[in-house]
């Protein structure tokens, strides 16, 4: 059975902050098969000088309605065009791609933490939705209160949503990993799912090591500049610890990831 490129009708567009947009689209294949942590490779308009698709994480899925949502920040040419699509237009999308978060061992007895910072706040909403029946604490970090987005969406899936802002203009003043660290004083999380910038992962690693928590329980979603997005071209490589002569191998963020165990990633 051949995979095909998905044609997705834009149903709704919302601007969440000064440069963040949310697009909800219709496509049965994506809505039916997508897993939290997976991404889509999106064609941005018909400008032929744009050679690459833009990889964007899936923010939400409504399996019953056959719809899905992507949330992204406008950072350049491609995402600018993406933000200009209008309702009724169709987008050309490859996916779902990537391995997604492994939630197979999560259950009613688990104590789960979702730690998300900056742009990492966008993809883990889908994860929060899939885990809503379980005991989940959600930690969201933003630059400042103007950067806040999706908080109310998260509150639909957990009654324990904690917000941190770098400048203290909303919620806890400081990094989301510091806020998470405070909660480690009285919580033993069996599963930690994180998404955010490299710096956040390094802080998270330090926090877990300092508090002697099991680093293997923590899954993170990596980002890297991509080419094909399918695993063929080897441009989106990340260094992963393996038992071989060199102690590492370059793996593909688009195919072997984007989710890896925190302990196996070698950050440069």
């Amino acid at each position: 059975m051949m995979k095909s490129i998905n044609k997705c009708k834009l149903l709704n567009k919302t601007q969440l902050t000064r440069d963040v947009f949310s697009l909800t689209m219709e496509n049965k294949n994506i809505a039916k098969t997508a897993l939290p942590g997976q991404f889509l490779n999106v064609k941005c308009g018909d400008d032929r000088s744009i050679i690459l698709r833009r990889p964007i994480s899936i923010n939400d899925v409504d399996r019953a309605k056959g719809t899905f949502t992507i949330v992204f920040r406008v950072v350049g040419k491609g995402t600018k065009i993406l933000s200009e699509y209008e309702r009724g237009e169709h987008l050309d999308i490859i996916g779902p791609l990537g391995n997604g978060y492994d939630i197979s061992s999560a259950n009613e007895d688990s104590k789960i933490a979702i730690v998300a910072g900056g742009m990492g706040v966008m993809p883990v909403l889908f994860l929060a939705k899939e885990l809503k029946e379980y005991d989940v604490d959600i930690f969201l970090g933003y630059r400042d209160k103007d950067d806040l987005m999706l908080v109310n969406e998260y509150r639909k899936y957990s009654s324990n949503v904690y917000v941190a802002t770098d400048d203290g203009s909303e919620g806890y003043s400081g990094f989301v990993t510091d806020l998470y660290k405070k909660h480690l004083n009285f919580n033993d999380y069996t599963h930690v799912y994180a998404c955010g910038p490299k710096q956040m992962f390094l802080s998270l690693k330090n926090v877990l090591e300092d508090t002697q928590k099991n680093i293997d329980n923590c899954q993170i979603s990596l980002e890297e500049k991509m080419g094909c997005g399918l695993g063929a071209c080897l441009t989106c490589s990340c260094k992963i610890k393996v038992k071989n002569e060199d102690g590492f191998e370059y793996m593909r963020v688009c195919k072997d990831g984007p989710v890896f165990k925190l302990g196996e990633v070698i950050f440069e």
């Binding site: 050679i51 690459l52 890297e224 399918l230 370059y250």
Partner: protein
């Protein structure tokens, strides 16, 4: 309608292949198109020993192109022969062109020897690699070193031998003639153009390797010109590549002198590109009331 073309005694069912480095070993794209429909695939560049490749970032978009600095990450020839080649041969009826690279003449001979004794249909030599014994200049940069490496591997190669030319040279026709003179059965061009992109905020290059290879539509005019010059200089078939996205692009290359065209970067945006190019070429021949692909190969008329 005849779309078959030949390199030595290897017949391609049609003139469409996919470019080394963009396609892995066909597994991923094989889920999106029927690889049996295209003439062949050129594998990821192989080396005797596995290679990690360069640290990321390895790719950046430029206007109408991309710069890449993957650095020949590959599992090594043995894994290819034991795992990837059998998978390809078992599942697909299309020409498998093994792309081979090395740092020394001994490396090249060693890997070509192994490939020659295998089930691959042809060997494509990547001579854009820096020659470690000659101060890092690539084997492909002078007619003399091209002749040297072609002569050395020819002895070990029972399969059709294709030399892949780098465009980062002064006279591509002389380079092609050197390859032909030492027994190349075909030449393929162009490989990537050496390029650089600087981030003005960080004041650092976008690629961790600082420099990378440019591919995509931006290079097409250079590639078409080089295919033309080479096809006038040699008698062996020419495989043309460099920014082909559509059938129109492919036809340009064929008129310039390419017998086979290869699609690489275009696959990233459009996995169906090879099929669309094939269908478009067929349509062009039909509309022109031609029934053989050879009716357009090399048929450009200069002023």
């Amino acid at each position: 309608m005849n779309l078959k073309v030949k390199i030595a005694n290897l017949e391609f069912k049609n003139p469409i292949i996919t470019s080394s480095g963009t396609y892995g070993f066909g597994r991923e794209y094989g889920e999106y198109i029927d690889l049996n429909k295209i003439g062949g695939i050129a594998t990821k560049g192989l080396t005797l020993l596995p290679r990690h490749g360069n640290p990321p970032p390895r790719i950046v978009e430029t206007s109408s192109g991309i710069l890449n600095s993957v650095g020949l990450q590959n599992p090594g020839i043995d894994v290819f022969l034991n795992k990837d080649l059998p998978h390809l041969k078992k599942n697909y009826d299309t020409a498998i062109i093994a792309n081979a690279a090395g740092s020394t003449l001994e490396d090249y001979c060693g890997i070509v020897e192994k490939l020659s004794n295998s089930d691959v249909d042809a060997v494509e030599l990547n001579i854009s690699c820096p020659n470690v014994k000659q101060g890092g200049m690539s084997f492909g940069s002078t007619p003399k070193s091209v002749a040297e490496v072609t002569k050395a591997v020819r002895k070990h190669c029972k399969k059709p031998l294709i030399i892949k030319l780098t465009p980062n040279v002064t006279d591509i026709a002389e380079i092609a003639k050197a390859a032909e003179s030492e027994g190349a059965d075909a030449v393929s061009l162009i490989n990537t153009l050496l390029g650089m992109k600087i981030n003005i905020q960080t004041r650092k290059p976008e690629l961790k390797n600082n420099f990378g290879g440019l591919s995509g539509p931006a290079v097409k005019p250079v590639a078409v010109r080089m295919v033309y010059q080479v096809s006038k200089a040699v008698k062996v078939p020419v495989i043309g590549m460099g920014g082909i996205e559509t059938a129109d692009d492919a036809i340009e290359f064929m008129l310039a002198g390419a017998s086979i065209v290869s699609i690489g970067t275009a696959n990233f945006m459009n996995p169906i590109a090879p099929i669309e190019v094939l269908d478009g070429i067929e349509e062009y021949l039909k509309d022109s009331k031609l029934d053989d692909i050879h009716d357009i190969i090399g048929k450009v008329e200069l002023y």
